[in-house]
Symmetry: C2
Subunit: 768 residues, 2 copies
């Protein structure tokens, strides 16, 4: 049934344009009504989706509105329409507006959830999606890449939306430029809240990508402005600008593990943004520059500790005459009027240089072309704790002009450089947890480069025309920013702020109770096992954050079928197991992910426990990912295999966990794959995989190890093996370290267990 309500067009909205059409509000309750109303839609019409769940609906919103009389497709109540199941939205035509939808509990049947086209040549122009939410709308398998929002056409807008939780491969949002229908697009990505995007475990986890290397010569003119990026940790690039003339302006990057990167394309303006870290996490980055003509102005870098690729300003070395998909030389870049507060070594040059590998890599891989005609001027640095090296030259910065820069290094000596002078400054509070230098450099003569007259405003939009000064902020009476007020970003009906609930502890006395309470428990609840022995014959399903513990080291004996896990780690399943003795009958797994459909991450933290008599202590299947897997004060003994995370063999840079930590554990009589953690594929900017093996003892392990290696972490970038004892393990190698990367071993005692070897350069398949 369709309700049609005629209403009088609001005439005063359309002065000076075509005669107001007779507009209708059409309420639709199912997919058929929806497509019929779209087919008949006229300029000014409003198609209203009835509240409730719309399951398995593929919306093709193809129609022609006008500038004054757009066609609107909206939820009956903002946030009251839930798009679930296997669903998607495509738009094409002109002047269409979509509002108030909530995409959740499902995934798209297409290569995108929302697409601004309905076919290759039928694209959207002047269309918008606003006030919508896409939450965890992930494909079932993480190798099944897709986009959540894919722009085509021109002059389209994504505004006031909340997008979070993408775990599968592919950027959250991508602007596509193939074809003249999609260049000079002037798309707007504004006022959105990009909520947490978990670590992807490899590449292809950008939050926004503007084009690709194949369209890197095209003018895009996309604007990304006034968005909040919160914990966008997918990969090293939060925004990957790959086309020309993009504008990234007035955004807040809050505790996001990555950088804004001008990866390809040229003449990007990065102006007035806030990059805010916590003063500790070295993964929070700033801006990384490749290519020509970018302007980085009026930005604040705050409490950032990223290094090298992730430093506040990372200017890369290029490859001379670079191939299209590699690294063009940096030229004609302007870095002016920025402020750096407590951000270590903010200016790094020649990042990515590998001239020392000129003998082992082909010439077309050597990043030896230093930045040219680049200006770093009119910037202010303040370090509460002095930084001996505010400028780091991985390669010489001889093509860079420094001028009119000021540093307060709190009396700590630093490498002097023309154009960077000391001054004593003070901080002024400009909002909660935000204090910056506003004063004390009024007398510094401003460097004026070519076209600097186009830098007309400061980070707050105040005009620089009178009483201009260096740094991102002009001095003004009172500034009270509330950058992290989340109501300013995203959908007005949705908040990602979760009230912390006190966890409930459920006492459990037998197996049946364990199964039922586990099912009934809420997120983060605690299952407390009574003392004694629990005989479990079916896998315990972990599909939420949960704690399972006991006081007296309760024993769980798992006697289920061979090659099934005692604890089955499902999507969202984050298990903390404490003080448990976990025993199998030699054929099962202690912990395992699902074999497929791991559409969301799992997690595992085992402490003060004993694991024995399993086929595998841990078996992580392909396309499963945990941000962290931790074993502490735990013994693993008498198992055929230990911790197995080695199925990500597509060599595209993927791996199964970001952090695998083994601390103060003992491994005894684990016959193969004691630790087997794999990452494949060569790509200089994938930084991930972290293995920490600390204070642990390995004895009588590796007896059946075909690879003759105890700890196999081939391709993992960060490895620390420290303060361990290896005794009587029948292998040739404890480990082989990757010398070119961050692999370290120290303070280990090795007896009758082979050796630790370093291989400088691994042969890996190129990822690009």
């Amino acid at each position: 049934m369709k309700k049609v309500v005629f209403f009088l067009s609001v005439l005063f909205l359309s002065f000076g344009c075509e005669k107001a059409p007779i507009s209708k509000a059409i309420k639709v309750a199912n997919a058929n009504e929806l497509s019929e109303s779209i087919a008949n839609a006229q300029p000014g019409d409003e198609i209203v989706l009835a509240n409730g769940v719309w399951r398995d609906v593929e919306i093709k919103f193809s129609a022609k509105g006008t500038e004054d009389w757009p066609i609107v497709l909206k939820a009956e109540t903002e946030g009251g329409v839930f798009i679930e199941g296997v669903s998607s939205l495509e738009l094409s035509g002109e002047y269409l507006e979509v509002e108030g939808l909530f995409f959740r509990n499902g995934h798209s049947p297409k290569s995108n959830v929302i697409a601004f086209r309905t076919s290759e040549k039928e694209v959207a122009n002047h269309c918008s999606v606003s006030n919508c939410v896409i939450l965890d709308f992930n494909n079932l398998n993480r190798d099944d890449d897709n986009l959540w929002v894919q722009f085509y056409g021109k002059n389209n807008t994504l505004s006031h939306c909340y997008l979070a939780g993408k775990t599968n491969g592919g950027p959250t949002v991508r602007v596509d430029l193939k074809g003249n229908q999609s260049i000079r697009n002037y798309h707007q990505i504004i006022n959105n809240h990009f909520g947490p995007r978990p670590r992807k475990g490899g590449a292809r986890g950008e939050t926004i990508q503007l084009g690709s290397s194949f369209t890197s010569m095209s003018p895009s003119n996309t604007t990304i402005a006034n968005n909040l990026f919160e914990a966008c940790n997918g990969e090293v690039e939060i925004i990957s600008s790959k086309t020309n003339f993009n504008i990234i302006k007035n955004n807040v990057f809050y505790k996001s593990e990555g950088s804004v990167v001008t990866r390809h394309g040229n003449y990007c303006l990065i102006d007035g943004n806030y990059f805010i870290g916590d003063g500790e996490n070295e993964n929070f980055g700033g801006i990384r520059i490749v290519n020509t003509g970018h302007w980085i102005t009026n930005n604040l870098f705050y409490n950032l500790k990223g290094k090298n690729f992730r430093s506040p300003l990372a200017i890369m070395n290029g490859i001379p005459k670079s191939p299209l998909n590699r690294y063009n030389q940096v030229t004609d870049v302007v870095v002016a009027y920025n402020t750096y507060v407590n951000s270590n070594a903010p200016w790094q040059f020649g990042v990515g240089t590998n001239i020392d590998q000129a003998d082992v890599l082909p010439k077309s891989e050597i990043r030896s072309a230093r930045p040219l005609r680049t200006e770093v001027v009119n910037n202010v640095i303040y370090n509460e704790v002095g930084d001996p090296n505010p400028i780091i030259e991985h390669d010489k910065a001889d093509g860079v002009t420094f001028a009119s820069n000021i540093i307060d290094n709190n009396d700590v000596l630093f490498a002097k450089r023309d154009g960077l002078d000391s001054k004593t400054l003070s901080l002024t509070s400009i909002g909660e947890d935000l204090s910056v230098p506003l004063l004390g450099f009024e007398d510094v003569e401003i460097y004026s480069g070519f076209d600097f007259e186009t830098i007309t405003k400061d980070i707050l939009g105040n005009p620089r025309s009178k009483s201009n000064q260096i740094g991102a902020f002009l001095n003004s009476e009172t500034i009270d920013l509330d950058l992290l007020d989340k109501t300013k970003y995203g959908a007005n009906w949705y908040s990602n702020v979760v009230e912390v609930k006190e966890p409930t502890t459920h006492s459990v006395t037998n197996e049946a109770e364990l199964v039922s309470k586990l099912k009934a428990a809420e997120n983060n609840d605690i299952i407390e096992l009574k003392d004694g022995v629990f005989a479990v014959s079916e896998s315990l399903i972990i599909s939420k954050p949960i704690v399972i513990q006991s006081k007296g080291k309760t024993e769980i004996v798992y006697n289920g079928p061979a090659n099934t896990p005692a604890f089955a780690l499902h999507p969202y399943g984050k298990l903390k197991l404490k003080n448990i003795k976990l025993k199998g009958t030699n054929t099962q797994f202690a912990f395992a992910s699902l074999k497929e459909n791991m559409f969301n991450h799992f997690g595992l933290e085992v402490s003060d426990s004993e694991i024995s008599h399993f086929n595998y202590a841990l078996k992580v299947y392909k396309q499963s990912f945990a941000e962290e897997i931790t074993f502490t004060n735990t013994s693993i003994s008498n198992c055929e295999n230990g911790l197995e995370l080695s199925e990500e063999t597509n060599d595209r840079g993927d791996y199964n966990t970001e952090y695998l930590t083994v601390n103060n554990c003992s491994f005894n009589a684990v016959k193969s794959n004691v630790i087997d953690y794999y990452r494949g594929g060569y790509d200089e900017s994938t930084i991930g995989g972290n293995l920490l093996v600390l204070n642990s003892i390995f004895t009588n392990c590796g007896a059946n190890e075909k690879g003759r290696m105890l700890l196999n972490h081939r391709g993992i970038v960060n490895v620390t093996i420290s303060n361990n004892t290896f005794k009587d393990n029948n292998v040739d190698f404890v480990a082989i370290l990757w010398g070119a990367k961050n692999n370290n071993a120290s303070e280990n005692s090795i007896t009758n267990s082979g050796q630790i070897k370093t291989e400088q350069n691994l042969k890996l398949k190129l990822m690009y």
Copy 2:
């Protein structure tokens, strides 16, 4: 002495702007006065150079005019000021205008004759050079590359100038984009006459180059409009667009041996140009396309016979993920509303493909990426003589859309293709020697691609908004173009039209007279030697076009010093020697260029003559160049060496003559270097070097030949060895042909002279 004339400012020119300054006209007579007046110049001033020759003057015109009150530097009389000797002009500042100068009889001491900057950061903005001439202002040595006009800064103009005769390396005009001071420059190169630029003999002979591969990512926005390009034969590229957003509009390319090439950079608009050939010369090209987003609209291609790289429309194959200085794939190109008249195989795709060499070349050299998303639509082809293959696919054109194209092939069958339909058309005269189809396709439905609404006009500027049709021309009542009226282009005081004078014949009876008459003779005169023997002891200087002949095969015996030539070929020296017996005493050269300072080309045509007893019959030194060297009906005997043109060993693609022709000649007892003609360096787009050896006899030659080869033409692209007799020459090879290029041998008789071998791929040094 300086004359200062105050005059009242013309107020009506400056309404709405600043108060009119007190402007002066300042006449200057020498360099000191000039630089003083420049130093003191104020907005509105006119600095007037006194008529006459200004020798060895380096003008630095650095000043600041205003939009309404520019500062002018002009000749007292247009064309009356001759800049000669070692001289140059540099401009920097704003709103400067240079007018009426004639650069001749000299060269620049700098890397350019006219530069729009005075130092790296002191550039010109809003400055112009107009109504000037640069003629033969060549560096002394052709390897000493330079530019004649080099643009820097922004918004500068070269207009109404005549430039011709550049022989040394380097484009005639280049726009430089390094640095933010020179991007988005909106320079104008308009209404100029680019007169003959002789064949360069290798690369680096462009008439206009817009940027370089190193700045190919930068927006240039340069306009080249309403110019006449006449015999711009320097190399395969007349205009080489290497940056973005350039406009090439309404130019006439008349009998110019080259193409307009979008070599690097993207989004070039090539609109409304006339490409006019002679229906025979295969070197007259059209438009060659590399890279992305170019629009080729409203052009006329007339009587062009160029093939492959030089075809009317050559769409190249790219290299996948090409290095910066190689070939990007063609994508998103529009070829619409063009007209082709009697231009063979006008559309060629996959030009430059070398996938058949995938086994012998590195992957980064293989041009296998075919054009994508390219549209060839709304075009008209008329062929008086039907063309069986109007479309040639060197590689598949499967990424190209053809639509709404019409061909009149005069009933000759051609390979059918969707989007190219037959129609019977007629030609309408639109001016002298110019007839095009205007009618008969009104009913063809026009294809409308993305943004096609921006094609608002036809080639003549008529609006397409009503009664639009395909092809370059809208139908209108009478069109009478006078494209070749040279008064419309270049300096208004200069014409390159030379009246043909009847040559004078000077009879000469003795050596002294020969020397004096040779000196006194005018261009193209004839020196007629009486019968008998002329004993010549000093080189005869050939420094102009001249004919030396006799009736009865007069003998010239040259007994000058060893290793000096009987005929010294100086710059401009073009000798036709007819019916002469030329003898040395075994140590001299019959003909030789200068060892250095060959700042202009020479030429040599020997017929019906006998040359004997020389060390070298012909010795061409490095950096000397002749467009043509021809021997006909001539014997060369008893010489240590024959024709030696092998000093261009820099392997940058250079060679000493465009055409070396030997027809109906005999070579006997020439001991080494019978023919030695070299070109080095690999670059797929250098097309030159032509050797023709026809109907000739070689006997008892090569006795001392170390290379064991009679005809050595290594690296020469076009070689024909045909209908010759080789007998009793003590060599292993008559010649080694380059199989991959246009080298042919046929109908030769070889006895006791080794063999002719073909080597498919020569190993050559890469030029890029």
